[in-house]
Symmetry: C2
Subunit: 162 residues, 2 copies
DNA sequence: TATTGTTATACTCTATAACTATA
DNA sequence: TATAGTTATAGAGTATAACAATA
């Protein structure tokens, strides 16, 4: 206990063989949970993902919405909410943002004057494509330590959990 | 608040014919990303994880802090911040909460009057143990579709990404 | 009555910055 | 000067609830 309060010196990485390894934290029971490994890995990947989209002015939510709209022309906001697994009220803000940037348009639906048909603009499709390329590089970077077949195995196992 | 100009944005291709009424949403290029599978799986597991701790009055952040304190008696708030990968200011709130519930105590460090030595109370250790049991059940439930060796493979692959 | 989009509001989580008291 | 803890504040992201227009 009291051996733990050894003052941590600026040497951040040097000497880790002393008795109390100042700063070393035991993950304890956490390391026995697969969910813990999953969270750590997800967080690692996610922060690199966020960084990889930053230069395009996209955040995870805006990218997801944009790419779904590109791949599902004339989708409604309610459908988009379901696809993103968020509330409709949240979709309004995202769609406002994408529309302000002229990446998508709200079009009227012939036959239902309540709903909007969302459609990407040319600029929206181009930005989506640039984002996809950035994400491919991000995945190559982040999954580079796994072979192709290991990546396939991972994808398979992940899919089987859901 | 947001600009609500519903002006029609120009698109190069204009064809407002069929609206997809099937309700089926094409994940499109998203399904080609391993990160997308990872996010979906993580979200699924995470929400079951949150639910599995709710009856104990624990949230992911408070559980993580508690279990790390149990496994690292006399850890400081700064060390805890590093372990949780959040800022020190955020740790204050979590530690306040755990201390208010008398699950941990802030103890003085002989030799450094700036720092606290965090230590779980008996109630804190018991609650942690109950949470661990709840999480084991949660993992059995959520990973039940994978064999033991598949779970080991998954853990291995996840660890190799980081 | 139900659904679509919208607004207002609030809550959680986290970050930044400034501060104090120590070191 | 640097570190530990604290406070105030702000920004995402998301949720709930109520509402108007439309079905």
């Amino acid at each position: 206990m009291a051996t733990k309060d050894r003052k941590t010196v600026m040497t951040d990485k040097v000497q880790v063989e002393k008795i109390d390894t100042s700063g070393e934290i035991d993950p304890g029971v956490l390391s026995s949970f697969i969910g813990y490994a999953m969270k750590r890995t997800y967080m690692t990947i996610h922060s690199d993902f966020v960084a990889s989209l930053e230069h395009l002015g996209l955040r995870p939510g805006t990218f997801s919405a944009l790419t779904i709209i590109v791949d599902n022309p004339d989708i409604s906001q309610s459908q988009l909410a379901r696809a993103l697994a968020i509330e409709r009220s949240g979709v309004v803000l995202i769609v406002d943002h994408l529309e302000d940037r002229e990446l998508i348009g709200r079009h009227r639906v012939p036959g239902d004057r309540r709903a909007y048909a969302l459609r990407a603009t040319l600029a929206g499709r181009r930005l989506r494509d640039a984002a996809v390329e950035a994400i491919r590089k991000h995945e190559a970077r982040v999954l580079g330590s796994l072979t192709g077949s290991e990546q396939a195995t991972l994808r398979n196992l992940l899919a089987r959990i859901m």
